[in-house]
Symmetry: C2
Subunit: 217 residues, 2 copies
């Protein structure tokens, strides 16, 4: 049996219900912690599930900020310092990651509040999450205001990328499952993954094959 | 052991390798088929892994188009007709979904080429994928050109939403795992998921709890 929900019935739903449902419709999502620091040295950490690949040449990545939410501290720090980190959640830290979405006052760092450790390396100003296995150091490039609903698309360039050595394959595919990265659905559901397969580059009339490249060690 | 890759070493990599690696850095992604039709009635189907939630009120969803790729047919059809469908991939159809990324000539519909069935309902012009369990009918709202690399952000509004009846919980969370929706990483890796748990709304100083709401039937 199929359920059909229209725009009108979505808009007539109670707000929290609509938020749950609409957040589920896009499919499984990336879920990462964004680490920032303000000019005075106060750190902030917030969970985001709107990370999107923009391009590889140059390496660009984006996410959406809602300025009326706890995410506003992340935004103001990025605009102040021009840099931030993106840190993948894994099975050991997804609960602490989720807890960063609580409305802590600006003077409290979510790192300390939820029990995650700040990590600094290679001269980058913004704090990485030490417990995260895949970490990106990002330079802010562009802000695009989406006037349609007041959200903001933040685009940045990958300056640094860190991951466990045994997760990189010969063809430069990064095995996120081996890095224990988790995914999320809706606003609050966390999932681990199980690979079905990697598929070869698609061409008309050619049968797809499973890619079985492994990492080089 | 940790591997460190910088912007400079990314840019020095062979193009295909850089594409593989950078596409992996954002985490697990939504992977959906976008169905469109041109003014003459010719259909098109293409796989996208950049679906992003923009907001719930009104219900908005976005994705990124690369105009120099096979995705250009999707873009021109959307601009012509103002509508499209977003269809979740599941375990039965992810291979056929991946095959839509082959460069078929404009006169061939990917529906026929890969063996997926067009489905029309409730007076909506664009074709749904019949084999998909979660289907969205979208009205085009806005196009944002990302001058930084020539890609385009397409924002649309959810007009219709279809899913299996037993997947909706009492709090309007949609159980994508029950709907057999898959996720992807990199350019070509498909994964099924296993729920860790749903977590309660986070508040400072309050311990998170697992949400165990089920669907109402």
């Amino acid at each position: 049996m199929e359920t059909h929900i229209t725009y009108e019935s979505l808009m007539a739903m109670e707000k929290r219900q609509r938020t749950n449902l609409v957040n589920s419709t896009g499919g499984f999502k990336s879920v990462c912690l964004i680490g920032t620091k303000d000019k005075k040295g106060k750190t902030n950490l917030a969970v985001f599930n709107s990370i999107t690949h923009i391009g590889a040449t140059p390496p660009l990545i984006a996410f959406i900020v809602r300025p009326d939410s706890v995410e506003r501290h992340t935004l103001s720090n990025i605009l102040e310092t021009g840099c931030y980190t993106i840190n993948h959640l894994n099975e050991k830290i997804y609960k602490r990651g989720h807890q960063t979405s609580a409305r802590y006052p600006k003077e409290i760092s979510e790192f300390a509040a939820v029990g995650l450790k700040e990590n600094y390396k290679d001269g980058f100003l913004a704090p990485y999450v030490e417990e995260s296995n895949v970490q990106l150091g990002i330079q802010f490039k562009e802000r695009l205001d989406l006037t349609i609903n007041g959200t903001i698309l933040i685009i940045g360039q990958i300056e640094h990328l860190y991951f466990p050595k045994n997760c990189l394959y010969d063809d430069a595919f990064l095995d996120l499952e081996k890095a224990n990265t988790v995914t999320c659905s809706g606003l609050d559901s966390y999932h681990k993954t199980q690979r079905l397969e990697r598929l070869s580059y698609a061409k008309p009339g050619i049968e797809l094959e499973a890619i079985i490249t492994e990492h080089s060690d």
